[in-house]
Symmetry: D2
Subunit: 348 residues, 4 copies
Amino acid sequence: MNFASDNVAAVPAELLDALVAANQDTAKPYGEDEYTALAGRRFWELFECELVMLPVATGTAANCLGLACVTPPWGAIYCHQTSHIEMDECGAPEFFTGGAKLVKLPGHGGKIDAATLGEALSQAQIGSQHKVQPAALSLSQATEFGTVYTPDEVRSLADVAHSFGMKVHMDGARFANAVASLGCSPAELTWQAGVDIMTFGATKNGALGAEAVLFFDPALAESAVFRRKRAGHLFSKMRYLSAQLAACLADGRWLSWAHHANSMAQMMANGLAQVPGARLEHPVQANEIFITLPSAVVEGLLGDGFWFYRWGDPEPDTVRLITAWNTQAADVERFIDRALFHAAHPKG
Amino acid sequence: MNFASDNVAAVPAELLDALVAANQDTAKPYGEDEYTALAGRRFWELFECELVMLPVATGTAANCLGLACVTPPWGAIYCHQTSHIEMDECGAPEFFTGGAKLVKLPGHGGKIDAATLGEALSQAQIGSQHKVQPAALSLSQATEFGTVYTPDEVRSLADVAHSFGMKVHMDGARFANAVASLGCSPAELTWQAGVDIMTFGATKNGALGAEAVLFFDPALAESAVFRRKRAGHLFSKMRYLSAQLAACLADGRWLSWAHHANSMAQMMANGLAQVPGARLEHPVQANEIFITLPSAVVEGLLGDGFWFYRWGDPEPDTVRLITAWNTQAADVERFIDRALFHAAHPKG
Amino acid sequence: MNFASDNVAAVPAELLDALVAANQDTAKPYGEDEYTALAGRRFWELFECELVMLPVATGTAANCLGLACVTPPWGAIYCHQTSHIEMDECGAPEFFTGGAKLVKLPGHGGKIDAATLGEALSQAQIGSQHKVQPAALSLSQATEFGTVYTPDEVRSLADVAHSFGMKVHMDGARFANAVASLGCSPAELTWQAGVDIMTFGATKNGALGAEAVLFFDPALAESAVFRRKRAGHLFSKMRYLSAQLAACLADGRWLSWAHHANSMAQMMANGLAQVPGARLEHPVQANEIFITLPSAVVEGLLGDGFWFYRWGDPEPDTVRLITAWNTQAADVERFIDRALFHAAHPKG
Amino acid sequence: MNFASDNVAAVPAELLDALVAANQDTAKPYGEDEYTALAGRRFWELFECELVMLPVATGTAANCLGLACVTPPWGAIYCHQTSHIEMDECGAPEFFTGGAKLVKLPGHGGKIDAATLGEALSQAQIGSQHKVQPAALSLSQATEFGTVYTPDEVRSLADVAHSFGMKVHMDGARFANAVASLGCSPAELTWQAGVDIMTFGATKNGALGAEAVLFFDPALAESAVFRRKRAGHLFSKMRYLSAQLAACLADGRWLSWAHHANSMAQMMANGLAQVPGARLEHPVQANEIFITLPSAVVEGLLGDGFWFYRWGDPEPDTVRLITAWNTQAADVERFIDRALFHAAHPKG
């Protein structure tokens, strides 16, 4: 049973149905098709504004295309030290931007706070030809530790960034989980709070491989189509990307799936809290749980065949559990039961 | 009716079925899944060698990842002046390589000949620090004009390239059509003829969006996985890419589809040859027809609602017609009939 | 005796004197010194406008910094097919721009004409995401063949470029020779004729190693200081660069030196015209002569120990002769005498 | 009086004399001249090995050319968090490498220790396609805080780096000061201790603008000449760069100049130690002093017209003082006297 990641889950039948439905007759290539137009309209409705939307297939592509549009080669991207763009993209932001620098900021629970950002920026020597120049703030929403920024927190951070002439980027690989957690509107959590560009992730929330780069200020998107093509991310048969996005947004599915994943995470967290010696490392606000368990429990669960990762930080027995759109309550219950069992019956 | 491109066609049901079949349970991410392994094995069988295979989603990505693995930033990629990498990728090869230069060669029918290549290379000043250094020869197979290189022609070109220390890349966006046309084996047309790296195209031959970068010499692939990730082309749910490739290769489908497209092109060429004043601009060896027709015929066909492009070269009334895996013989017949009709009844 | 290049000559004593004069006490680093300020003022006076001036040490750096300021990675730089940026910089423009493409144009005598440019641009598909986008026109003044553009020719070309939204760059490695040849003012030949950015070359005209990047529109220079530093071209002890530039511009030296070199080239061309069978390949308008001589003459001169290059184009016995600020009339006379001698006394 | 930097000082007369001496007759361009050959031989002698030497004009160029030869775009360069390449080059390493990442390490006195390096590398996930790959360790010798690595320390660090497959780079902008401080041979401090590539700095030690990139393993230099040209750092009149280097190395001048600067720093440190409340922040091992002084003393000295910088770290009244090849003992004495005076007579 998978608690390893949300990117190893199968996809909802609705998405395969959408591909079949899109597979009719010919369609204009390179995004001139009706499915891309439909997806675009649904994003306008969802975000209550006339954004520019570009479908791509991976989160790395989405993040880096967006960032490159606002970051010159001598720019600096401020991000949390645990962020995906810094840790897990093999230097993709550097590649897409032509060699920009990522400035890593600390912060509890994977979150940057406005004071930390402000202090870092106050030392940036803006205008000095010897220094990379602050260009973008990138916020992960939800964070790598499954915590979320409130709209007020986003606003505070965006205000600082904007006051230094930077743009605000949101890595929303798990944006759906954040919205589901906060109960606010997508608009409130993004452009109304100062976000300029974002990755709207669908892949971790069910899609086969589809993400949308959203530009709330169309002027920021001017170079985007050229960057997309140069990076090999312009799909000739774009309808099969766009149909996924359109289907995710239909009938609020994207949010339902995220709600489900989040609720499974809550169930898991609550259940594991009963394990003697368990300690939650971060608040569980989305679909990720970071929890330190007794060593015997961790080993017992792995021995049971559950699939999840030891995170190893801050303790060797800290584990990461991720729930997905299709996580079964029965599986969570079984996980909890077995954890309690192993806690009660440590091997020796 | 579509004769505009092979990338606007719908996809075969077998491919959607393959996606459904791959949508079972969890699968390891990033290419560690069984579908990717299966696709890899099928490529080994098809090409009769232990190649390295990387699935990506677009031809531009496949071409440029392959080329970047053998071309340093100060390298030169020799290619036909009409090649896709030079004309239609918005500088993607330059992006992926870190600024290499494409050297454009002339040649009839979209084909480079060995003498032209040899002469160009003899002026390259290899070793001079003032000059970009020949690194790769890129051959489009089939070419942009629907012609094909024979294995002997590939061998002659590869010999020249190798004698200058270069590697040989094949842009096989329409490789299936070339194989179908020539009747040789994939191995004979590639590594046995000196090709080192290739793009095996599936998208123009039916897939939703799937291409394979093939490295016949695994040593050339050393940097490939890092380049793929940095460019945002590492799919977390890679099974949905690989399942397409595996399904294309199953039961010789890829070749059947290409055979069909080619035969439709032959039918079209033969039929249009009967139009008075028609002149084929290039031999029809794959699934593309470049033909100059009387102006009244072109306008008449467009007026009928057929979808195809005026190519405008060498004549204003030269048109490009492309057939696909699903082109219907009845549609071709109707196109021919209408062409003959318009030739007999010019408006005016 | 050197007729091989103007970059192998020693430098005028005035320039070494200027270095000694600049070597007093401490000076602020990185261009905050008085010598850089002085050079800047002299450029303002010389060009009759408030340009932005950046001293660098090589022509390649100057050309590529300027071009990069106006050319995005997906941009195209239109240039003559024989231009230095295309032929002799090992891909430096591609490096500085992050992978732009150079579009090579033909033209007699190393010169582009406005009609050729216009026709090329009319096919550029501006706005298409599949195509690199015209960004800059680069004109070499004087050209690689020692010809010059008149102010009217520059204006015609600039008008075409500007009408397509491009900027105009001038590679003025031998700008001094062009001005000396034309008798116009620097302003007339540059910004008044539509040039936006230029390399003002001093190295081929006497300096140890000093070039100035000039931005006639300061807005185009916004990114220049960051690009300069990132490329390692910001000199801490900039005074020694700037002192060279200031000394070149003092008392019209730069123009006197170029006048001298040009007059030596005229003397040489006139003298060699008397050699039976000699044919000038290009008009001699600056300090370069491309002339085809009888084979026996070429061999005889090389045997005499004169240092110059066979150009090999259009004939094997076409040679390139370059004069410099310090070419001696007696040496030119001797060269001519010996050429006439060899013509009259062919060996064998 | 200058204690602000060693790059604001005038240059020794010997170097201007060397330029005059090199200004004879013609010289082959692009490094084929005798002065470059001479400089090369002197480096062989000095380092007791057949290294490859490339002259360039700035330290940033030298550092980044060297690093780029051993660091792929997906590589990581491990360096001290205060290193020049990280802090003061506006992202030049990222530019030259095509987007590599700098990994910042902490350490007292600007020095990395082997344990810190080993621990960081143990977390690097070598081979993972999601992660940048350790490629180079860069050591600043002397460091940004005027401390030096002993040969044993270099060896320990190099052993760790090599065990992870990395190459070792030394930023020797103040290498002369380090050698003067340690009394060892250049060979002992570099290749015999495991350094693979280095910047031998001359500019901060007297030169107008000249640095040498040294490759102790010639195989690592294979791409260097192409990278140099592409970056605009190939000088046509290279003799004027090389003559500086050759003159610095003649008669042990480079070491004498550094000895002098170091001794002036010692005198300064010893003198200021007598100021009540003074605290040296780092050991004075080269030509830089970081010292915290009473606020009144700092203000008094600035009021006296001495030119130096408040460093502001760790205290607002921490200052940085740099001595140079031409620092006068009398000036140091005067600085000390005035510091003592201000300490005794605080304003108020």
